[in-house]
């Protein structure tokens, strides 16, 4: 098994330095950012026999939204999208280190002193799967689709769901020598971190999509133009509800120590909505790897079955799965408005018990960022330090605090519960019952859950599990409700906004860490808007002959191109 875990803890995050001299020509005033690491995986590759074979992976459903990464972040899409559309945008997270930025469809980039202008030089040897050369025009087209509300007559096309994460883009211009300039109305020093998000894939060929949009086919998506991408694999066949077959793209640009990638001849993604069926198919030898996505990730019990049945023929990739938490709706009246009550609840919950009871047996108790996160080793405060002490002692404090708040006889509180997985809700209900709090579970289907979690209709909720490896990216889930309706806790606390503004302005690593710690302390301790309970670990099975997987511990969406994978079946 080779997993290129990207836990290079000594590595500093890539924060480009803006040029402070404003004299001279524009070109001279820029600083070329040298990539921290190359995209090569040389230590893995030296034998020709790594080429060949078809890998068969489970996928939990058909990719939604016509395979459009501008529309959805669903792992059902991104498990496949990496192979078709590539692992990154103009830049990508490096395979060996998720916190470093590597060039992808751009070869280099520069920024000005104020971080408001970013210039990218487009890679010249990249081709779409239909043979057309990838140009700056394609990149501009993607940025325009992502941040503009394209209109033809009275018909409009919505911008990308992540429009806000790209920053305040003022304009996107094509410069000579196949370069692209992106101008922001406010400084954006972390633009590369954002752009390297593997969810932001370029899947929109200008030469195929532009004519459709001009004919007012506004909802045109990658599926509508034949899934023509720039990734290492080209679509061979898509049978909806059954299988997506991709095969090696012979003109893929990326190399590995001189060897062309990808190594394998293709991947069959078989749509298997039921996890039990996936287990049976894997164990009977019909699959080389499991699906990604909630419910398909293994529980401890299912993993034991794999080990019992397959022994050394199977290995397990582990990926941080996001936090299990209790978040309060501060915009709805109730006893939870009192920070003392919220603190009491935080003290009361047995967080270690949540791992086997609610997270399938895999996880650790931590507030948000996992132990492999770059901010962790030097400065991070792990969860127990927020409420140190034995559970018995903490529970005495919790009772005392609840009495002090005037709720010694308890109260009832509603709780939005996702019907797809009610176990965490039942865990919380059982926990709080002993404190005298009746948690009224309001179990809803996916449609209502997706609506409800951005509403203020419910007293409390858990939010979604998706983690963000970038601290700045967490504002969308911890920020004020008016600007961040998907925030776990619904509040309008201006102080939180101020703290995030401070974090985004941090230019040194230490300052960034200190600012993040301040946010954590405010959110989880002083105000306890959110009670972090435990971080889940997602476990995916792979056959032992699957080599060269690059799966970072932090994010299931990264490196899903499988370009470096080979099958050592002997």
């Amino acid at each position: 098994m080779v997993i290129l875990a990207s836990c290079v803890r000594e590595a500093e995050p890539v924060l480009p330095k803006g040029n402070e001299t404003h004299g001279g020509s524009l070109a001279e005033a820029r600083v070329v950012i040298t990539p921290v690491t190359s995209l090569t995986v040389a230590h893995l590759v030296d034998r020709k026999e790594k080429y060949g074979g078809i890998m068969v992976l489970a996928n939990r459903s058909d990719p939604p939204a016509g395979f459009d990464p501008l529309r959805t972040s669903s792992i059902a899409l991104h498990h496949i999208a990496g192979a078709l559309f590539g692992s990154g945008n103009l830049v990508a997270r490096c395979r060996e280190n998720i916190y470093a930025i590597c060039p992808y469809l751009a070869t280099s980039w520069t920024t000005n002193a104020g971080y408001t202008e970013w210039d990218f030089t487009i890679r010249r040897n990249v081709r779409w799967h239909d043979g057309t050369t990838f140009t700056a025009q394609d990149a501009k087209f993607w940025f325009d689709l992502a941040h503009l509300q394209t209109a033809i007559g009275d018909r409009i096309r919505a911008p990308a769901y992540f429009k806000g994460e790209l920053g305040d883009i003022e304009s996107v211009k094509i410069l000579e020598h196949d370069r692209l300039r992106i101008t922001f109305s406010h400084r954006n020093p972390h633009f590369l971190d954002d752009l390297a998000n593997p969810r932001f894939r370029l899947a929109h060929p200008y030469h195929l999509m532009k004519p459709k949009i001009e004919k007012a086919s506004m909802s045109i998506n990658p599926l509508g133009v034949g899934l023509v991408g720039v990734g290492p694999f080209v679509l061979e066949e898509y049978i909806k509800g059954s299988v997506v077959r991709v095969r090696r793209f012979d003109r893929y640009w990326e190399k590995d120590s001189g060897n062309t990638l990808p190594y394998i001849n293709g991947i069959d993604y078989v749509v298997i909505p039921d996890p039990f069926v996936m287990d049976v198919a894997f164990r009977s030898g019909r699959l080389d790897g499991g699906a990604r996505g909630q419910a398909h990730y293994l529980t401890a019990e299912r993993k034991r079955g794999y080990v019992r049945g397959l022994g050394k023929d199977v290995f397990f990739a582990e990926i941080e799965g996001g936090n299990f938490r209790l978040a309060f709706n501060m915009l709805k009246s109730g006893p939870w408005q009192d920070p003392v009550v919220r603190r009491a609840i935080a003290f009361w919950i047995d967080k270690r018990a949540a791992i086997p009871a609610a997270l399938g047996g895999f996880g650790w108790t931590a507030p948000d960022l996992g132990p492999s996160h770059i901010l962790v080793p030097r400065h991070f405060v792990n969860w127990p330090k927020f409420d140190t002490g034995q559970l018995d002692q903490k529970r005495i404090i919790a009772k005392y605090l609840l009495d002090e708040a005037g709720y010694s006889s308890g109260f009832s509180m509603g709780h939005l519960c996702r019907g797809l997985n009610t176990t965490p809700c039942e865990f919380l209900k059982a926990q709080l019952a002993d404190l005298g709090i009746e948690l009224e579970l309001q179990i809803v289907d996916e449609g209502e859950w997706n609506r409800a979690r951005v509403s203020i209709d419910y007293d409390s909720q858990q939010g979604r599990l998706t983690p963000s490896p970038i601290p700045e990216g967490t504002e969308s889930v911890y920020g004020r409700y008016s600007g961040n309706p998907d925030a776990y806790a619904k509040h309008e606390d201006l102080r939180v906004e101020e703290l995030y503004r401070k974090l985004r302005g941090a230019l040194t690593f230490d300052q960034r860490v200190e600012d993040w710690r301040e946010i954590e302390r405010y959110l989880f301790v002083e105000q306890t808007y959110v009670v972090p309970i435990a971080e889940s670990i997602n476990v995916i099975p792979y056959r032992s002959y699957v080599k060269g997987l690059a799966i970072p511990a932090e994010d299931a969406h990264t490196n899903t191109d499988f370009a470096t994978v080979w099958l050592e079946k002997g």
Partner: protein, 317 residues
């Protein structure tokens, strides 16, 4: 008879219109909409959500949405296209219906093939051990849910043979061997349930008929058991049998969601439920209307067939 059929066909139009209206309204009562499902598990700028709602026409007044969809139902577009994937609904049905139809045909064929002899045997040998054995088997078929049977079956295949059915569906004209290896299992499970219904209907109908005076007369005339059953009993069992088969066909075409999911069959039932969860309004509405239409046609066909099976039935008056 012809006037009766014509009248029934005319009635289909208003029935479908009522169905269209009800399905449309029910879908709008459900909380949430497809933009939440499309964006998925991420924080989304509310502005982006509103733009997408505009793009998909979800911000149009309800009567505009209803009128637009109704027009697309009759102008040949069969409801338009999926909000989620932009795929034409007619093409979705064209893809999913053959899978479901094949499963239905296999199931009905095997069910009739099994249930007729066993139903007769059970009735003729009433109270003896073969009858008790057949009734015990049919009891299992009626009581055990598909989910449990399918999971136990898969587990059994894995544990005893280290084998599982293929995970990719192929039509029989593309890969007949793989098709057979996959379809045999859901067909067996459905056949067990379906034939259990049929065996019980045949058995009880036969027991009723066997005690009729004309059957006693036929036996007393010295006719063989075979002739009595085939010529005098079975024709009278056909009407309840046909009714039950029609009901089963309606259920099967409506989709057997659980089995379609477990065996990876991209059929109508799975597509229908997936669209409902996604709040893909045009797809759910159009599929519902299609299934209602199919049910109406099956009912009409059955009513017409009654006339041919039993000449005493008349639709003239």
């Amino acid at each position: 008879m012809q006037r009766y059929i014509a009248w029934r066909l005319v009635l289909i139009a208003p029935t479908l219109l009522v169905a269209c209206t009800l399905v449309f309204l029910v879908m709008r009562i459900l909380p949430g909409d497809i933009t939440f499902v499309i964006f998925g598990d991420v924080a989304v700028n509310p502005e982006a959500r509103e733009f997408l709602r505009d793009e998909l026409g979800l911000n149009d007044p309800l009567h505009v949405q209803y009128g637009g969809w109704l027009w697309k139902m009759v102008n040949g577009e069969f409801g338009g296209h999926s909000l989620e994937s932009d795929e034409q609904i007619a093409s979705m049905i064209g893809r999913q219906l053959p899978v479901t139809l094949l499963l239905t045909v296999y199931t009905v064929f095997f069910s009739i093939f099994i249930s007729v002899p066993f139903g007769i045997l059970s009735a003729v040998l009433e109270g003896r051990w073969p009858d008790r054995f057949i009734r015990a088997i049919t009891l299992g078929g009626l009581a055990l849910p598909h989910l449990l049977v399918a999971l136990l079956l898969l587990l059994g295949l894995l544990l005893f043979f280290e084998w599982s059915p293929p995970i990719i569906y192929y039509p029989p004209w593309v890969n007949p061997w793989s098709h057979a290896q996959l379809m045999i299992w859901p067909t067996l499970i459905l056949t067990w349930e379906c034939s259990s219904h049929l065996v019980r209907v045949i058995r009880s109908s036969m027991l009723d008929v066997i005690r009729q005076p004309y059957v006693v007369t036929a036996q007393s005339k010295g006719l063989s058991v075979y002739r009595v059953i085939v010529w005098h009993v079975l024709p009278n069992v056909m009407i309840p049998l046909l009714t039950m088969v029609a009901l089963q066909v309606g259920t099967l075409i409506g989709g057997v969601l659980v089995l379609e999911i477990i065996f990876g069959l991209p059929g109508l039932g799975r597509g229908f439920v997936q669209a409902a969860i996604s709040r893909d309004y045009p797809v759910v509405q159009s599929l519902a209307v299609f299934l209602i239409f199919v049910s109406l046609i099956i009912n009409l066909l059955v009513d017409v067939m009654y006339r041919f099976i039993d000449p005493r039935i008349s639709y003239s008056g």
